[in-house]
Symmetry: C2
Subunit: 320 residues, 2 copies
């Protein structure tokens, strides 16, 4: 829902009468890479902009949004009378873990005065690693940022954040007076005024508690271990005759082909036998395995055992 809220702020900035009077019938549009998360299409349908008005911008061979294409599509849309509401840059795509080029995208947004929302649900926590925070270079130009603490950071579901550069904008989109409910609290600390849900779990408390326990350094160490596991997995796959690595990972997602078998069937067999719960994805037309190194509690020998299990299953499928 954090992407929903960021996109809504963009919509309401592009057309401030939307929240009061609904759409005026002009075509409103969002922009996102063809590798983006499905929540963007879902949110566009909910927000009354429409799924068909989410422009899917092409990505390069590593899965990053092509900023030149973005500029062209926006210019064509504006020429055709569309109202661009927001560009959603993905920081850590779901399949390949790719990071869109924020600086280039931001410069397109600035030129046309369009809201830049960054979807860092998966990749935002890279900011907590002292070196790998470079993955989000240019994040300072984003108007809003989704950042989930329940994915890479391991905080129990749900703990999704929306950071915003502009104080007051969110209240304008969401706020609704309810004199009978909002009593006594100090306004700045009252999430009821800015949350889209009315019932409010105190999810922020979980993050606060985790941060008290780990500290900045603890988050760095946690990410360091996750990156180490991702690198180990990529190295192992590159050296194995049974697999082919799709690309060296920038982040924590490792996609690889498994020779000679139907990957979907392989994943199901591993799941049913209780050996591993691992997903599959389509990368450039191939069904591949998708391993995400989010659990810092496991060791490289756990990963090695996983790969041995995969090979054993692969062998038994081929010989069957």
């Amino acid at each position: 829902m954090a992407n929903f809220v960021g996109m809504m702020m963009g919509r309401d900035r592009a057309n401030p009468s939307f929240r009061e009077h609904g759409s005026d019938g002009r075509q409103h549009t969002f922009y996102v890479s063809d590798q983006s998360h499905y929540s963007v299409d879902k949110a566009a349908a909910m927000l009354g902009v429409g799924r068909a008005n989410v422009r899917k911008i092409s990505s390069d061979n590593r899965g990053r949004m092509n900023a030149d294409d973005l500029a062209k599509v926006i210019e064509t849309d504006i020429a055709n009378g569309c109202v661009p509401c927001a560009v959603i840059a993905t920081c850590g795509t779901t399949v390949l873990g790719a990071f869109d080029p924020l600086k280039q995208i931001a410069s397109v947004c600035r030129k046309h005065d369009i809201w830049l929302h960054a979807d860092g649900a998966f990749g935002g926590p890279a900011l907590l690693h002292r070196q790998h925070r470079d993955l989000l270079d240019g994040i300072e130009y984003a108007d809003s940022l989704t950042w989930d603490a329940h994915k890479v950071m391991g905080v129990p579901l749900t703990c999704s954040m929306l950071l915003c550069q502009h104080q007051g904008k969110l209240s304008k989109s969401v706020q609704q007076d309810a004199e009978y409910l909002f009593q006594v609290d100090h306004e700045d600390l009252n999430p009821g005024l800015r949350s889209i849900q009315c019932g409010r779990r105190n999810d922020a408390f979980k993050l606060w508690a985790a941060w008290q326990a780990l500290g900045d350094n603890g988050w760095h160490q946690r990410l360091e271990q996750q990156f180490k596991l991702a690198t180990f997995a990529a190295d192992y796959i590159e050296q194995s005759p049974n697999f082919e690595l799709c690309q060296r990972p920038d982040y924590l997602t490792i996609c690889f082909k498994v020779y000679g078998v139907d990957v979907v069937e392989l994943c199901e067999q591993l799941h049913v036998s209780g050996e591993a719960l691992i997903g599959h994805a389509n990368v450039r037309g191939d069904q591949v395995m998708r391993l995400v190194a989010v659990n810092p509690e496991i060791s490289t020998s756990d990963l090695q055992r996983l790969f041995e299990n995969i090979v054993a299953k692969q062998t038994s499928i081929i010989s069957a």
Copy 2:
């Protein structure tokens, strides 16, 4: 968010192209009583219909929507080219605990083929009481129903339900394919296909566990005790020379005037001194105290002590 989803289903039924292409520029409208919950206005803003297009229908002297007025407003809107999306009937208003007349409202909806959403967030659980379920007479005509288990039923936040008469409609509004995520699960049991959030807490489990513990009879008993407390409070207030009851409660909310003091100040003093956390509301132009008998763990003597505390504070404010 359950009201949001019910309203979205109404919007998408009234104008099926909304989710794909956004609004076509016609004025879309929602209908709700002037006693309704603020979530309706909030949802209208988010859904791209607009807060200004939420028609507030007058209510009678007990806070129930006036169905004749509803019919007139809808007819005028249709004559003016508006697209009615849904009527939202409130089952248990926030301030007075009033229940809108579902049968009469349903007949207006049927006549014009408009989606009927019932907001039973607060009042829905009355269905679990063997006699008081009559409060929701006509609920069988609602297309969708919000029912919160985290209010009257005491299940920890959040546990909000949306019940819908029409299988498949919700998927159409919300569903978004994400081949990389929805793997292995059986479709009918996969909330990811129908939830608006992507990250999914298993809130249904809390309700299931509570129902296993209490059973149908346990819910009845729980509500019986809540109704007993509400009746005790109303009787006490009627017999007290210090208070005036706004109306006999149909449900669990008791609103009453406290003579001779500013009720807002009184509530704040009770809160600050730690004696009671009790809210205030505006009823027909008066600031009144609003007591909600939702905690079945308290006894009538706890309520008596509360009233004695209020009187003591009232006396000290008057004599100050």
